[in-house]
């Protein structure tokens, strides 16, 4: 079952734009590419919905305090064409998220890559930052 997203589709390379682009999404108005984040935690919720996929993880700090973070990815349509399915990542899965923090300071970010900790597999998130 986990092998289903074991690889990334070459088609994503075709879909990535070849020039500087904001894509349809005002990435820079919401997220700060100069504020990269990398967080690990267990998925608490997945919204496999348009226009953007959202998922939430519980991140535990060194004191054991848990904060819930929200992350935005590309449309499920883009993810499906890149080899994801709606079951690729489920509540309870521990993931490492790399992306950019929200400009408004909230515990949210835009995702570049999700790594499934148990297998090490990396899934590109088809997000608007990636399309820049």
């Amino acid at each position: 079952m986990k092998t289903r997203f074991a690889v990334i589709v070459a088609g994503l390379g075709l879909l990535l734009s070849a020039g500087p682009a904001l894509a349809h999404h005002a990435f820079a108005a919401e997220y700060d590419a100069k504020k990269p984040i990398k967080l690990t935690g267990a998925v608490t919720k997945l919204e496999w919905l348009n226009p953007h996929t959202w998922f939430y993880i519980d991140v535990k700090d060194d004191n054991g305090k848990v904060t819930n973070w929200g992350f935005e990815m590309g449309s499920p349509n883009i993810l499906l064409r890149a080899g994801w399915t709606r079951n690729s990542m489920k509540p309870g899965d521990v993931v490492t998220v790399e992306g950019s923090r929200a400009k408004d300071g909230s515990n949210n970010g835009n995702v570049k890559v999700v790594t499934l900790v148990s297998t090490g597999q990396r899934l590109f998130a088809g997000s608007s930052q990636e399309q820049q």
Partner: protein, 264 residues
Amino acid sequence: MTFLTDAAKRLQVSIAAMTMLFVMAGPASAQWLNIPLPGTPRTPDGKPNLMAPAPKTTDGKPDLSGIWHADGRYLDNLAGEGVDVPMHPWAAALYKQRMDTLGRDKPQLHCLPHGVPDAMLVAAIPFKIVQTPREVMVLYEEFNQYRQIFTDGRSLPNDPNPAWFGYSIGKWEGDTFVVETAGFKEGTWLDNGGHPHSDALHITERFRRPNFGTLELDVAIDDPKAYPKPWKSATIHFKLLPDTELLEHLCENERDAQHLLGNQ
């Protein structure tokens, strides 16, 4: 130059993606993401032959039908990267505001349409052309929208109710499909950067399909209330996505507006 750096970055990501294998799990054969379509010219190994001649309809015209997605170079500036289009002062001020606020007021962030031609230029989300004898339909995957281009000889309507996609008629000039569109609602963005227009906007699109896998488009913008002179786009190239179907796309959890700076 910024362009080279961005292009190099994108090439890196493309190469990374390309080096990974594309695997469809067993149940995928029941899905439509990858489904052999009848009428697709193929190479001896069964892959779609994107260099084959363009298909023709029964009345001998090129058939533009297919699922297409745009080469990304034109997303921001329809006129071409780095090209400045002279505008009347109100339009120039509006364009500057849209650029300065990083597209914060873009209609798409509220799931409203892109309009013409921008709806065809959405990065990574394709559209489908369905060509029939009396009309050509453009089905946009993003937001599940559509545009109709009537080829039955009718004229553009007089004083139509303004529309996001306007009203379109089309005809063939040789192998080029020429589309005239007018009757636009104010407030659509001509491109991702936000080139503005007035209700006087009249767009001429010229489509060509040089081979099975390629579609080309030239856009002419004529809007004397916004631009002192008509102007043309750079030629836009689209690549065919063979053996696949559109996916539904409806706004079910739109929340970009909440996070945009200045919109709290």
